[in-house]
Symmetry: C2
């Protein structure tokens, strides 16, 4: 039997609830395919601050480093957001973990499910068939550059090296080559030095992927095009902050951010998490959609080279969608709870 | 008779065409209301580089400084975009002018015209009644911070001072107080020091405007909310780069970026321009929508304290929309040319 260690970081808000369902599904997969998954739980985010004083306790980092993959719920708590003077923040845990694990590429697939088009704020004819894979650089840029404060001023520095751009660009080119062969670099090369470096490196690397067509879009234009005509995109490649904004923007296309998984990969162990946040208002109400967490678990299975298992999870999620086994945001009339959706998927595996 | 000097910078691509129509409308206003507007033309952008080697020749800056207001078409040329090594770029002209004139606040109104809802990529019931005023800080942040390159690395610095935040924040609070009383600050205070400074300053200033309700949104969430529920917004306040992205994103709501004007104001003379770009593919074809330029001229009239005249221009634009006197993007069946739309509006004034 194949044996894998999975570190689970439930986090804050609805994180624990959706993580529970994803773990339930992974257990069902293990049983069906006769694998052994060992789950180890650890604290990160606001819950870790409350418990230990640190958003990323050393035990948590160790648990992740020892695992074959990491599954994360969500982190964040509004009590830190209104206080610009807070010294310790939940987000430091997530950013610290990304950096410590070298997770330089964040993959965010955006798909418009036929059955759910009516829930999108966009007109169905504009979005049907949308299938985008966003590669967001995750350990560089303004998130990790030097930053500081005086009483009267503040600064944040965005820095990139050729190597930081190249490694994520290669992943994006490879993905584009295996998909529809179009890579769109999003930058602000008419203003930023870092964007001009991105463009330079991507132009060079493009020569090694002659079958991939490369398009260049300024970030302001990209923010329009994503809504005007999302089907024009196949793979989008961009730096950390632009990727944060554009991938959340793109999440509206499918009608629910509660459906969107992500994978963060790098040199070592990889991490999988829904792109939604900790949504504290929904905590404990059983209304959170666990599908983003469950689809993140499917990406985790792919990463462990369990392609058939991953496919099985995706098919069952699709079946749940087709059967309207959905939480209230997508099924107002006869909503299922978080737990019911997770159980349906786990038992159908 | 009232006499005003207006500097006109037609710029590149469709800039000259749409500027022509805006000037035509201003001339009609002058005639009707018995004012004298003196127009002086100057070069900026790619056309200025071609002609003089500089994107912002000293004569242009002088013409602007001597004027009571500046009307700009659009700047930019793709021949500079694909070359990360270009030393001179059209955008330097616009950025240089914003800085030289101290235009620290860029106002971008976003309105969904009832009659045009069908053209929006968004469902009409989501957007009907949208009326947002975006205040984008325009002379600080990563656009103007220190930037640099080595062979292998690049950096851009985002800096803000308390004073830079405060002056644009006061304008936004005043606007909110005279509108629906809601100001939303968009930042990334969970990651950026500059955002925490913005939040701190806005929290302080808020006390002086007790009737204005203040909301805080992270930029990634704001990029979603603008599409999910644009009616929740009244005034949005944000820093330079976030404002660039979000205002272009918001432009899709109304169904056409060709309708959206902007005003850039500061300590001295103010500048008015469409938010669309130079759209080189459309140049010379007579298909560009001149309404954004004409509505920018209306904002210019407001700025010159000619409120009645501004209102008249807006009413006539509304009349043109209601009568389907529209360029091809909004009227596929029987499109009017740029010139015809401009003339209809000018003659109806
Ligand atoms: C919580 C926050 C720091 C994080 C980010 O900005 O990267 C989140 O928005 C995300 O996209 O994963
Ligand atoms: C042309 C470019 C430099 C400019 C900007 O980014 O400010 C434009 O996109 C705008 O929004 O006015």
């Amino acid at each position: 039997v194949l044996e894998k260690k999975i570190a689970v970081l439930p986090g804050d808000g609805i994180g624990p609830e959706v993580c529970n369902e994803a773990v339930k599904v992974l257990k069902a997969v293990a049983e069906k395919y006769n694998h052994t998954f060992r789950f180890s739980y650890a604290l990160m985010g606001a819950c870790a601050i409350d418990e230990t004083g640190s958003p990323l306790p050393p035990e948590t980092l160790e648990a992740c480093q020892e695992a074959d993959a990491v599954l994360l719920g969500a982190i964040g708590d509004p009590k830190y957001d209104q206080n610009p003077h807070a010294k310790v923040r939940p987000e430091q845990g997530l950013l610290g973990l990304r950096k410590a694990l070298g997770l330089y590429a964040n993959l965010r697939p955006v798909v418009a499910y036929e059955k759910l088009l009516e829930h999108s704020p966009l007109k169905p004819e504009r979005i049907a068939g949308t299938d985008i894979l966003i590669f967001r650089e995750l350990t560089g840029g303004t998130y990790f550059g030097e930053k500081g404060r005086t009483a009267d001023t503040a600064f944040d520095t965005c820095t990139y090296s050729r190597e930081e751009v190249a490694r994520v660009a290669h992943l994006a080119f490879k993905a584009a080559a295996s998909r529809h062969g179009i890579l769109t670099l999003v930058d602000k090369a008419n203003v930023l030095e870092t964007s001009r470096l991105w463009r330079e490196v991507v132009q060079e690397i493009a020569k090694q992927y002659p079958k991939v067509e490369v398009a260049y879009l300024f970030v302001d234009n990209a923010a329009m095009q994503l809504i005007l005509n999302p089907r024009q995109f196949d793979v989008i490649l961009t730096e950390n902050m632009f990727g944060d904004i554009l991938s959340d923007e793109a999440s509206v296309i499918g009608g629910s951010i509660g459906l969107l998984p992500s994978a963060s990969i790098g040199d070592g162990v990889a991490l999988f998490e829904p792109i939604h946040g900790s949504f504290p208002q929904a905590k404990g109400k059983g209304i959170a959609n666990p599908m983003a967490a469950i689809l993140s678990a499917a990406m985790l299975l792919d990463y462990l080279n369990l392609a058939e298992e991953a496919k099985c999870v995706r098919e069952v999620v699709q079946k749940a969608i087709n059967s309207n086994i959905l939480t209230q945001e997508l099924n107002k009339k006869s909503p299922y709870t978080t737990e019911q959706v997770g159980s349906f998927i786990a038992y159908t595996i």
